[in-house]
């Protein structure tokens, strides 16, 4: 019997450290890395100074930069940049940081979304559920309208606005303790008030340029990001993601419900506040460099959960890689314009279909049974739709690079909307964890 073969200490150690990593998760991570690298390369190769993908690849892997301590010091610490050729300079100084920032943003939002979905025990929660997005939007508008001389502080004000909204939400929700429902409702209330004030402030702006940059902030954009943004977002991301990864085990207990978690010895209020705070740090640092990129924190944990199941150790690990993949791919679309968006979306949908298919085929028996019951059709539909979009884009003259520099948040929103639709059509129990 299974019980006799697995009572040794060895399997216990394996189970505690790596036992939860399975083939499905590894497959998902590999696909995500592939998408991120490909998206990054496309991002790096297009632009005013255009190059082919192999040229981009050789510039990115250029050993003169890659193994140059001075260059890395310049990138990561902001010291003076050493001499390098034109292509390396453009790639490494302008385009690579944008990809890296996008990856961090995706990582942070995805992990924060996973944390909030567990804390609020709601599958439809996102990093912005506790009023953070509208709070930071208000921070941005206040800076532009009342402190127009301090626009260089907009990243800080955005992060501070979001964090303040979170604190206000917690204060409102607290009544001798909180509950997921109270938190979500308080988040809606604070979000609405901040949103109204923010919209009101738009009427005080008479310069269209200011309106546009404010809008770029509240839709989320990676345009013009630099190594400075990498330096800004990296430390916070590393710390908060590290804590969230350790906290995954606690999230697993938290989703069993307050009463059970307490009976198991968890200090529920502390765990909830601590994990939320960590997720807010991750979210705020993402907002500070890219503005409010929508839907990433909602979709990514959701996709990951659908593929790897509801163990939060797996969800966080998966989100860590799928988040960057989504933002990088979406940013390629944002940068390269509508026809490219269609191609990219086609590829994304195709890949999603492939991931579903591969996940279903290589997964455990239980996963396979579930796949056959639920995902055969969506995977097929995804493949057909993805191929169809690629075909249409091809008929329309192929991907024409227009360098539109759309805010990336618009693209993620365009991906997120249809995903929501899919969710509503597919799921019997919307909101189950």
């Amino acid at each position: 019997m299974a019980g006799e073969t697995r009572t040794t200490g060895e399997s216990g150690t394996a189970r505690g450290t790596t036992g939860w990593i399975d083939a499905t998760l590894v497959g998902l991570i590999c696909v995500s890395i592939a998408v991120t690298v490909l998206g990054g390369l496309i991002q790096v190769s297009f632009g005013a100074y255009s190059m082919t993908l192999p040229e981009a690849w050789s510039a990115v892997t250029n050993p003169a930069v890659l193994f140059n301590g001075d260059a890395w010091r310049a990138f990561l610490l902001g010291t003076a940049l050493p001499e390098m050729n034109r292509r390396a300079l453009i790639v490494w100084n302008i385009r690579v940081p944008r990809v890296i920032v996008g990856a961090f943003v995706g990582m942070n939002l995805a992990v924060a979304g996973a944390v909030f979905q567990a804390v609020t025990r709601n599958e439809l929660a996102s990093p912005y559920i506790l009023g953070v997005s509208h709070g930071s939007g208000l921070g941005v508008l206040v800076t532009f309208v009342f402190f127009s001389g301090l626009t260089h502080l907009v990243p800080l004000m955005a992060a501070v606005g979001g964090a303040l909204a979170f604190i206000v939400v917690y204060a409102i929700a607290w009544n001798g303790g909180t509950s997921p429902v109270r938190l979500v409702l308080a988040g809606v209330v604070v979000g609405m008030v901040a949103w109204s004030l923010q919209r009101g402030l738009f009427f005080f702006v008479d310069d269209i340029g200011v309106v546009q940059s404010a809008l770029a902030w509240i839709t989320g954009s990676l345009t013009g990001t630099d190594w400075e943004q990498v330096r800004l977002v990296a430390p916070w991301s590393v710390v908060s993601i590290f804590v969230a990864a350790i906290g995954a085990r606690h999230l697993n207990v938290l989703v069993l419900g307050e009463s059970t978690a307490k009976s198991l010895g968890m200090k529920v209020e502390w765990a909830r506040f601590g994990l939320s705070a960590v997720a807010i740090v991750a979210t705020s640092s993402a907002i500070a460099v890219a503005g409010i990129v929508s839907f990433v924190g909602l979709i990514v944990p959701h996709v990951v959960r659908t593929v790897v199941g509801s163990d939060y150790r797996r969800i966080i690990a998966g989100s860590l890689f799928v988040g960057p993949a989504l933002v990088t791919a979406a940013d390629v679309g944002a940068r390269l314009g509508p026809s490219v968006v269609a191609v990219a979306a086609g590829v994304v949908i195709l890949v999603a279909g492939l991931v579903l298919g591969i996940g279903g085929l290589v997964g455990s028996t239980a996963v396979r049974a579930r796949y056959e019951a639920e995902y055969t059709r969506p995977a097929g539909v995804a493949l057909v739709v993805g191929a169809g979009m690629l075909g249409l884009a091809w008929l329309a003259g192929g991907p024409v690079v227009s360098d539109t520099q759309l805010p990336v948040g618009i693209v993620t929103g365009l991906v997120g909307g249809p995903y929501f639709l899919y969710l509503m059509r597919r799921r019997k129990h919307l909101g189950d964890l």
Binding site: G3, G9, G265, A366
Partner: protein, 277 residues
């Protein structure tokens, strides 16, 4: 053991302080939205090493009392002592190593495996950074064995029946390896087979591991068969307290449950309900 047989509202054991694992005194337990306390008891005892069943009609305060005893709900007045120590003085994990509690409704994500869920029972033994060790593994194996769910361990919770799910949650609480266990209506909504499975697990746990158990039961006949002691609650106070042969009477069924029934002693009490009153 105390064998008082006082058929009045203030039934109390007199000398239970020394051998009770869990004692509540002068308890008043209410909810913020209600003016009157839901439960008012002068004294409630869960004797060490025995199975105590809380019985009573719907709304008599059984679950409220159990929640207070498990420190899930703070009483407005009174004191609860676990192993002669105020329950408020325990740390959260410390308490979870001494006292297990399974609430009435339990939910888990559908795709969690049975084994993973049972491992959550080891939560109070693990530090923030620690992973599972041999002791955890052994405790989980024992719990799975005791609950008889070895054949389910690889399954995911969403694919289980209500009865199987309940046994899995019981295994999770067993993995906590506590000396005292509070179970809130673990057999409600289960078919007869799984009801008996749950009750047999409880009995085995008590006999083999000497665990003190307090269990809320809906079915008084079942309580009479499996428990060493009954606490009969009526409208938030203790109606009677003691071994089933003394507590289960036609009078109790009439006063507390509003049922006209015949009780035969063979020697365990057997209840034949006739009609509602």
């Amino acid at each position: 053991m105390q064998t008082q047989d006082t058929h009045n509202e203030d039934a109390q054991p007199s000398d239970a302080a020394t051998d009770s694992a869990l004692v509540g005194t002068d308890l008043e337990i209410g909810y913020p939205t209600l003016e009157e306390p839901v439960v008012t008891v002068d004294r409630v005892d869960v004797p060490e090493g025995e199975v105590t069943a809380l019985v009573g009609p719907n709304g008599s305060g059984k679950s409220t009392l159990v929640k207070a005893l498990a420190r899930q709900h703070r009483p407005d007045a009174g004191e609860i002592r676990l192993n002669d120590r105020n329950i408020e003085s325990f740390g959260q994990k410390e308490l979870a190593r001494e006292l297990g509690h399974l609430s009435q409704e339990n939910t888990a994500p559908d795709s969690v495996s049975v084994e993973d869920l049972v491992y959550h029972g080891r939560y109070p033994y693990r530090g923030f950074f620690e992973s599972v060790d041999d002791a955890d593994e052994r405790a989980v194996e024992r719990a799975i064995d005791l609950a008889g769910i070895d054949h389910l361990r690889e399954k995911s919770v969403g694919n289980l029946s209500g009865g199987q799910k309940q046994l899995v949650f019981i295994a999770m609480v067993l993995a906590q390896e506590t000396d005292v266990l509070l179970l809130d209506e673990p057999t409600t909504f289960l078919d007869l087979h799984h009801q008996l499975r749950v009750m047999e697990t409880v009995r085995r746990l008590n006999e083999e591991r000497d665990v003190t158990i307090a269990i809320v039961l809906h079915d008084i006949a079942q309580a009479a068969r499996f428990a060493d002691n009954l606490i009969a609650l009526d409208d938030g106070s203790v109606y009677d307290w003691g071994p089933p042969t003394n507590v289960v009477t036609e009078e109790l069924l009439e006063d507390v449950f509003d049922v006209d029934a015949a009780v035969r002693y063979t020697p365990d009490p057997e209840i034949v309900p006739k009609r509602s009153l």
